[in-house]
């Protein structure tokens, strides 16, 4: 288990137990932000770069504040400045170029970039937005970063021998960015690697990339890894070797069908358990979420449990996203109180040690 979770415990936390509450990252954008974007892209509108920046700043403030009101222990700006998880970073890294949209399915497209030369660190990616968000809240700010394996896999590779070499080169850049974020005060970084779920055989590449990412990053900086919508049995227990503090996993969407995967061998890292489904536009009740949180206690003791939604919330209606956060926090506090009172008795199986 990781020793760096307690730094996020609020001073006025009312229970002895502490289940850290957080979000994965993305959050529905306010409608007026989309309208502002249209104005910014409309050559005839009187809406310049400064106006657009101000709109994004405002949206980041609004969503950070919304996370505070929901009671989250760590907050994010809801990724208000990002359009898409690969494009955003590809625009900031030398070596990428864009050649136009490609099909994902039906008439859903994305601007899949091409890596045409050696990738190099240019302007900072996230330090400005971190500093902005951190200055607007007293709560710890979590920083989600698209991982190097996903940045490599979801691009055309014209320049590197194979995707692994590209992923390693990108990992060095992610490491550079995290060093800057840490200098700016960040203590909670989440690496998003959704591409791992689609090509699970590549877990060794992701592991090697993570080694590069965390090189020389101080222990007190909490590093999480988010992987969603895949067959976890194909990457577990191998991922336990990854040098991260926490795994953030999507399990509510599948009704915890895959929970048993993580019971044997013993889950030695912290588990950030998805306890609300982001593909259902109904707010789960506090009681339901409490039951989901208790599923996590079948895998890890309370000290290793973090509470989180399955994935980014951006596709939900905003009031639904808020409702889910508010109920999730309440459920976490209720479970903590029950744990304090000794009312929860969940047997964890004794798994075979991982090195057997």
């Amino acid at each position: 288990m990781s020793e760096n979770k307690d730094q996020f415990r609020p001073e006025d936390h009312e229970n002895d137990h502490f289940l850290l509450t957080s979000v994965v990252g993305s959050y529905p954008k306010p409608k007026w932000l989309n309208r502002a974007k249209e104005l910014y892209e409309d050559d005839e509108a009187d809406f310049d770069e400064d106006n657009w920046k101000e709109a994004k700043d405002d949206a980041a403030l609004v969503i950070t504040n919304e996370h505070e009101r929901a009671g989250l222990d760590t907050v994010v700006d809801g990724e208000m400045r990002r359009n898409e998880m690969v494009e955003f970073f590809a625009h900031r890294i030398d070596g990428y170029e864009f050649n136009g949209p490609v099909k994902v399915w039906g008439h859903n497209y994305f601007d899949k970039p091409s890596v045409v030369s050696e990738v190099e660190y240019d302007e900072n990616w996230l330090v400005d937005e971190y500093e902005f968000t951190a200055s607007a809240t007293d709560r710890p700010v979590k920083v989600p970063i698209t991982g190097p394996y996903t940045l490599a896999s979801w691009a055309f590779n014209e320049a590197y021998e194979d995707d692994a070499e590209l992923a390693y080169a990108l990992a060095d850049l992610v490491n550079e960015e995290i060093e800057k974020l840490v200098d700016a005060g960040a203590r909670y970084i989440q690496i998003d690697e959704p591409a791992l779920a689609t090509t699970p055989d590549d877990h060794a590449i992701v592991g090697e990339a993570l080694e590069r990412i965390v090189a020389d990053i101080p222990e007190e900086v909490r590093i999480g890894l988010h992987v969603c919508y895949g067959d976890y049995s194909r990457i577990y227990p191998e991922i336990l070797e990854f040098p991260v503090d926490e795994f953030d996993l999507e399990l509510a969407n599948g009704d915890y069908e895959q929970l048993d995967v993580f019971k044997d061998p013993e889950f030695t890292a912290d588990l950030a358990l998805g306890v609300v489904d982001v593909h259902v536009a109904e707010v789960e009740s506090v009681e339901q979420i409490e039951e989901n949180i208790k599923k996590g206690l079948e895998v890890v003791p309370p000290e290793q449990l973090v509470v989180s939604p399955d994935c980014g919330l951006k596709l939900l209606p905003r009031e639904v996203a808020y409702g889910k956060m508010e109920n999730m926090v309440q459920a976490a506090r209720n479970v903590e109180a029950d744990l304090d009172a000794g009312n929860i008795d969940i047997e964890r199986e004794t798994p075979t040690p991982a090195d057997d």
Binding site: N99, G100, V102, K103, T199
Partner: protein, 334 residues
Amino acid sequence: MTEYVSTTPGLYPLPDWAKDDLSHLKGHQKHDLISGDEGEEITAVYEEARDEVISVQQDAGLDRIVEGQLRWDDMLAHPLAVNDAVETRGIVRYYDNNNFYREPVVTDDLAATGDVASELEAAADLTDDDDLQAVLPGPYSLADLSTDEHYGDEADFLAAIADLLADEADAFPDVETLFLLEPSLVENAPDDGEDERASEAIDQVASAVDADVVVQPYWGALEEKVYAHLLDADIDAVGFDFVSNQDDNLYNIQEYGATDDIALGLADGQNTLVEDPEAIRDRVEWVEGQLPTAEFETVYLTTNTETFYLPYAKYVEKLEVLAEAADLAEVTAA
């Protein structure tokens, strides 16, 4: 003397303007995708886009012209997605790609729709007599991409798919060449017995047209037995994906021989890096130099895969490279 023929396996990306127009007219959800009964407005967009991709091929100087399969929202599963005996259900992953299609579930007796034939009729009006090329999924891949809730038995289902594709092909206008795309022969290789049935099913579809038939597997090389069985089918050429695997493909040809014609997938249909025509020509010579056989009658130069994975401008460049490489190979051989 060997004839070098530049071509593609079809399934092109839509021009960017058509992506926009069709997103707008059709929508983004799974029930918005093509089911074979689209209205006038949508049809008009596809007609204009078809004109454009046929012109692109003609301007590039390709020796075979495909219709483009721009309506194939469900990629190789399209011929089933427009069939009345099929329900389209959830979105499922298209092989190992970040692409998805609607799972076609066969719930009744399959009968030909003429959907692909009518696309080819439209394309025939825009092309010269001797350069039109038809494209279909091979029967094994189409069966592999779909779910059977009607025939009940794997062999019966494959036979029904072969019947369907043969009937669809029988309705085609005159075409010079038919490409049967069979990625599943690599990606989900048939077992013992199944491999022989796959070959027979391909033979049946191939026999339905009076055209040269090329069977193109991709994303690797065929297992030896699968390749050996495939050579028993009455087809004119097997295609080889030399982009993703050189050694095993070469081994198959050296060990088991080849058809009189051959298709060489030498340009990468899934990478924006545009090859040099000279490099493609050199690879053709390299392959030919590795083989003990006398010369091929026809060598098709093609991308290894469909090209819808590419941004439109890069797709156009790939076609130009293939046409130029075939011209270079022709000159070198002469």
